[in-house]
């Protein structure tokens, strides 16, 4: 742990602002334990679990576009009750474990949060998956639904509550404000951009679900914009996510206003111990040293001052 890297986020103290994004490397709790041993990892968000078990979509579920990735995994997960069992087996995790849940309404949100409360250090409400029916973006693009789900989750836990929002809306600030008013502790921005890839020889969309979510490099400038917009509009912490491949990408999000940064797609370029996070951390520490900052929190939102 490097003293420059420790941050406070929504009541949590993280040894590093680098968080493993939801859904990457799946839901294996054994893997969470392994990943947590990487000292550059500040927290892990689990794969999104839903009320009912989901097998996910048929293959193809992902495609590498070079400048980003398209995926429609379809939120495969064993359901929150089964997942609870797995989570309860995790012992002595050195870092906070944030459980991502994908409720389709406020009742599901309440039940899931109650059931998972004692096996988690916080919740991320995934109201932004662009390719799941009746979940994710379908609820997350309606401020009223966001308000009701967040309120419901809020009533069931005192642990840090994050809401993960989508770039696929006209006004992200409106959605974030609804969540803030309903009592969320921090906003994660962003989930993937709804997209399609068609194979010209096959003449068909590649993903079995047709629609998928664009992640990686391609969405980074969109993520920076949304973090920047949110920072000017809301008072609670923001977690930046989208296309972070190196320390510059991470610093960009932090300067835009993110207190912490999630890394998803870039782990493709990494060993499964997530050594890419070590490189990103090293780069940030070097940057802070160069510019004369004592801690990464000093540069949060700095791009806004004139």
């Amino acid at each position: 742990m490097h003293p420059k890297m420790s941050v406070k986020l929504a009541g949590l103290v993280l040894r590093s602002p680098l968080i493993v994004a939801s859904g990457v490397l799946g839901s294996s709790t054994r893997l969470i334990k392994k990943v947590s041993e990487n000292p550059s990892v500040g927290a892990v968000v689990t794969k999104t679990v839903t009320y009912n078990p989901r097998p996910g979509y048929e293959n193809p579920t992902a495609i590498d576009l070079g400048f980003g990735f398209l995926n429609a995994m379809g939120l495969p997960n064993p359901g929150y009750l089964e997942y609870r069992k797995e989570l309860s087996e995790i012992k002595d995790l050195a870092i906070p474990l944030i459980v991502s849940i994908g409720p389709s309404n406020s009742e599901e949100a309440a039940e899931m949060v109650k059931a998972l409360n004692d096996v988690s250090d916080g919740f991320e409400l995934n109201l932004s998956c662009p390719h799941a029916e009746k979940l994710g973006l379908e609820v997350g693009s309606d401020p009223e639904k966001v308000r009701s789900i967040v309120s419901s989750a809020r009533r069931c836990t005192t642990k840090p509550l994050f809401v993960k929002i989508s770039p696929n809306v006209t006004d992200v600030v409106e959605i974030a404000r609804a969540a803030v008013e309903a009592g969320v502790d921090a906003v994660t921005a962003i989930n993937t951009m709804k997209s399609i890839a068609i194979d010209v020889n096959a003449g068909k969309p590649v993903l079995s679900n047709v629609y998928g979510g664009l992640s990686g490099k391609a969405i980074h400038p969109i993520a920076v914009r949304i973090v920047y917009e949110l920072y000017e509009a809301i008072k609670i912490p923001i977690v930046g996510c989208g296309g972070v491949y190196d320390w510059r990408d991470a610093v960009e999000l932090i300067l835009a206003g993110a207190t912490a940064v999630q890394i998803g797609s870039a782990i493709v370029y990494s060993r499964s111990d997530l050594n890419i996070l070590n490189e990103i951390e090293k780069g940030i520490i070097e940057y802070l040293k160069d510019k004369g900052f004592n801690n990464v929190m000093e540069i949060v939102g700095l791009a806004h001052t004139s």
Binding site: G26, P53, R54, P76, D199, N201
Partner: protein
């Protein structure tokens, strides 16, 4: 100027040969050359029918063979393709076998594993390395790729569970009984996981190097979805695998547990 990383490779079926009642071998003509190391796999897609990982059973210029067991929807559709039909490939993915180790090689292939090991066999022979190929199946009707192996005059020994051809018994039994302790330095194996596990244990006991090609549910194929991860070590079949040194993975879920499509931990049965 920017290039897309991966376009699907278009491939046309040139022939479809029935190996057994459950297994077919497709010969495909690819629209471009790709370099596939023995043991690497391809994602094979047919729009509407799904996409599954397959380790080619032959690679020769723009021509490759896929030997496919009909276990479910997609494998059935692919195994039943007609000449002239198209499939779409991405890859190669994964690490493939390390054939640089010095010494003699023993290959142990169960079911379609015999087919998947053939490119490694050919490569070793080409390098002038002494190689013996143990091939197994339930019975004479369920031996895969044996005709091909005979055609190329491969150095094979056969085992069947019912003794209808060759050795009467399983591959691990054949291995233990007929392979002398210190003759081979290297073992490569593909087949049912329980079989590979036994081979791997035996190798470890004998101090032989053993490379195992694992199967898990492969979705993305590129290393970020976590579907194919071997617990608890977090090795990805599709990136760090599918080939692992037995010593690396004995003591993990190898041989005992895998995960289903939902990520539920389930027992390995075969």
């Amino acid at each position: 100027m920017f290039e897309k990383a991966h376009y699907y490779i278009e491939a046309e079926v040139e022939s479809n040969i029935m190996e057994t009642s459950r297994v077919n071998t497709l010969t495909l003509k690819l629209d471009r050359f790709i370099n596939i190391k023995p043991g690497q796999f391809l994602m094979v897609w047919r729009p509407g029918d799904g996409e599954i990982p397959i380790t080619p059973s032959l690679t020769q210029g723009n021509t490759i063979c896929l030997t496919i067991e009909k276990v479910g929807f997609t494998s059935n559709r692919l195994a039943n393709l007609k000449v002239g039909e198209k499939v779409f490939l991405r890859g190669p993915y994964g690490n493939g076998f390390n054939l640089e180790h010095p010494g003699k090689y023993l290959l142990v292939g169960g079911g379609t594993g015999a087919a998947s090991l053939t490119p490694a066999y050919l490569k070793l022979v080409e390098k002038g390395v002494y190689t013996l190929f143990l091939v197994g199946g339930r019975n004479i009707e369920n031996l895969v790729y044996v005709n091909k192996l005979r055609e190329i005059k491969a150095n094979i020994q056969i085992a069947t569970d019912d003794g209808s051809e060759g050795f009467h018994g399983t591959l691990p039994e054949l291995f233990k009984k007929t392979v002398s302790e210190d003759f081979f330095e290297n073992v490569l194996t593909i087949g049912p996981e329980k079989m590979m596990f036994k081979i791997a244990e035996e190798c470890l006991k004998r101090g032989m190097s053993c490379q195992v090609s694992l199967v898990r549910i492969v979705k993305c194929g590129i290393g970020f979805c976590g579907s194919c991860v071997l617990d608890p070590v977090g090795l990805r079949i599709c990136v760090e695998g599918p080939v692992f040194n037995a010593s690396e993975i004995l003591g993990t879920d190898f041989g005992f547990y895998m995960r289903d499509e939902m990520g539920r931990r389930i027992e390995v049965t075969l």
